[in-house]
Symmetry: C2
Subunit: 438 residues, 2 copies
């Protein structure tokens, strides 16, 4: 294995194999509300104690200091990043539990950043959750246009304009209410405003709940590339109210599932198998299935991020399908395809290339194609994408280091991947040609 | 003392008094090249060991691994911030010592950010220093328009444009060559580009050498306020070549001295007394006097920043005169007055207010007025500044917390200050009225 290859094949040695087993065991033990639990789970309750070895903790127990009420107790995933650690609360109706949000608001002034689509649906409830029983808090709002094509500097400036015009000081809190675009922009605004203010995320799409809710990546696009300008910045907390998914369009629902599927492929074979049994339940927004998929996705991402916050290696594996996918988004134009749609097609391309390299069995290629199709996601890039477009755009990917394009590719049994620049260039060319018209 | 007052009067208890004494003692011991050493210094060499109590270390010795050559060894001030620590090299002709820079360049690609005034003077020498004997390194440059009025988002985007068009990846290094505006903008660009790349500062003004070279504050202005958008981001190293001051206009030279004088006033009475003896030598660019003033300023700032990187309290004291000064810059228009000129007038106002509160002797008021006049700095705001302009602009200062304007004011003997919101509002009004026409 070349020096520039970081091996992430967990089964490559005994210790890693134990890690994989215990991770899987942990994931197998369902919370009380879980949909369609695997039969083997309940037979191994003793293994729960293994989870103490991990820096990601999940609990469905009543929160400490939480007044007893009739509402559902949230599931909590803790993201452990030293003094930047934070909880993710997951559950139905959490926007009605005002104490969850209020304990994380610093200062008396809040700026809610949302968009034109989400504001009519959830802004009033969010303001109510922030202020109910707490008259000292005042809330400003800025409502941005909706869509990836507005994830730019001009739109970001509207957040700064509002914050400065409202004279918000360093003790204020920014709240992102919306999908990934809102979370990324509000997070970068919070990181930059007065060189950093408090930040809370209320993600309202599956994509934002399972991806941008963990790990602190914030930023905006440049006309020449996605997320080229940004910061690593952690929130005070993330509140995932699964009820907000009831208003999510089907296409966006499917888009978010592309990231959920990714976690299974790169590090959690059992989760992938669970998805193969439950993908239709997720599309139908079964609340218990959603809560489980979101929790397990967040746990997987939190486990990776807590080991590699600044993406020196391991964290890059979360970008399976993203290098091809970003090329599609950039080449086809931001906003034409949803992020997860581009990632889905990109994942198929990465899996195809892994197979051409002889690194995985054909059965994995088929299972990936199958589950993505069942999720109603594209499995080929748009017809307008050419080989030269892919090459040109991928050359400015953030994972290029000293001129070498590194990719996340599957290698070994289901649930194992590598992040490497050490691959046969002909396999990449063959994949690009197979998936492009010209 | 109210809860919102942070006491920074070092003589307020025994331990703090010891700190002050040892700081002063340390500062009194001049390096080999020092201009006009105080007579008392050499009588206390044993006290040098006290400096080990501080996290700021200075040395004029040959650097480890440095090839022996005929050039002057630089003075080194270490800024200790854990894994974000970095050295400041200070000396004449350091731009000719290519190994100093090259040891801190990461990767093979460098982007030098400079401006139209500095580029003709020092860009070629900087590129030579980066590449001499090191053909693997390639250098891109972006030359921005000169001046505070270009410290904005539009100009910052030119840096991102150049970086992305040049396909710079995460392993590149951004180099700021110029004054404080270039340092702040290049630093914020480095903090944000691909969510953070390596950064080196080559400050070419006194202001940048004694202020922005230490502490990692980066950012840009908003039309409603200075430095409202930015990041805390530390460089890999700072290289201060005092020869670059030979081309600095007199007005900018004086402007930088306003910050040097500030360090004496807030925490280093002996340094202030040294300045009272040497201010004309500094204006005349005596190299030894400059090197000493820059070193001692950096040590003072580094000592503060290493205790309070994110400005939760102590670090705010570095803003003596800056709240009034920022109001002048904003109200009068960016670029009309230099930053240090506004700070000088702001310092006089802060000192006036301190005196009105009964916190300092009249002799301090006179000494501050005197030294600023000898440095050819303004001691009153522009005539167009009104009381209401001051109040309106100061209300959006970053030091406002929950609506309360906190100020840095002198209190006690020379060299002591407080950062507080606990002061008589009438004293502030009286100062604003005394220094405004209407």
């Amino acid at each position: 294995m070349a020096a520039n290859t970081i091996s992430l094949s967990l089964s490559s040695n005994l210790a890693a194999s134990k890690t994989l087993n215990s991770l899987q065991t942990r994931g197998l033990i369902p919370p009380p509300t879980i949909f369609f639990p695997l039969g083997s789970a309940k037979s191994q309750p003793g293994n729960l104690s293994l989870s103490s070895r991990f820096r990601v903790r999940a609990s469905a127990s009543q929160l400490i200091n939480e007044p007893v009420n009739s509402m559902t107790s949230p599931t909590v995933v803790h993201v452990d990043l030293g003094n930047r650690s934070y909880p993710i609360y997951i559950g139905a109706g959490l926007l009605d539990q005002s104490q969850l949000l209020q304990r994380h608001v610093h200062g008396k002034r809040v700026l809610v950043v949302t968009n034109e689509r989400v504001a009519p649906l959830y802004l009033d409830r969010t303001i109510d959750a922030l202020t109910r029983g707490n008259p000292n808090v005042t809330v400003e709002t800025v409502i941005l246009p909706d869509g990836e094509k507005f994830k730019d500097m001009d739109t970001l400036m509207k957040v700064f304009d509002k914050a400065i015009e409202s004279r918000l000081d360093r003790k204020c809190t920014f709240v992102a209410l919306g999908g990934g675009v809102i979370g990324d922009m509000c997070g970068y605004a919070a990181a930059s405003y007065l060189r950093g203010v408090n930040f809370i995320q209320i993600p309202t799409t599956v994509m934002a709940q399972v991806d941008s809710s963990v790990g602190g990546k914030t930023g905006i696009n440049h006309r020449l590339g996605k997320n080229m300008i940004g910061a690593f910045y952690q929130p005070q907390c993330v509140l995932v109210d699964t009820d907000t998914l009831n208003t999510l369009p089907d296409r966006e629902m499917a888009s978010g599932l592309a990231e959920v599927i990714k976690y299974g492929l790169i590090r959690d074979a059992e989760f992938f198998e669970w998805q193969e049994k439950n993908i239709e339940a997720l599309l139908a927004r079964d609340p218990a299935a959603l809560a489980y998929a979101i929790k397990r996705s967040c746990e997987n991402k939190a486990d990776v991020v807590s080991q590699d916050e600044k993406e020196s290696g391991l964290r890059a594996t979360l970008n399976l399908g993203h290098t091809f996918g970003h090329a599609i988004e950039t080449g086809f134009g931001y906003g034409e395809w949803l992020h997860g749609e581009a990632v889905a097609a990109g994942t198929v391309m990465a899996v195809d290339m892994s197979y051409r390299l002889g690194w995985i069995d054909e059965s994995i290629v088929e299972r990936v194609d199958n589950i993505l199709k069942r999720a109603k996601l594209p499995t080929t890039p748009p017809e307008s994408m050419t080989v030269s477009m892919f090459k040109s755009i991928m050359a400015v990917d953030k994972k290029v280091a000293d001129g070498l394009l590194r990719l996340i590719l599957l290698k070994g049994p289901l649930g194992n991947c590598v992040f490497t620049g050490d691959y046969d260039r002909e396999a990449l060319d063959a994949t690009l040609q197979a998936f492009s018209k010209s």
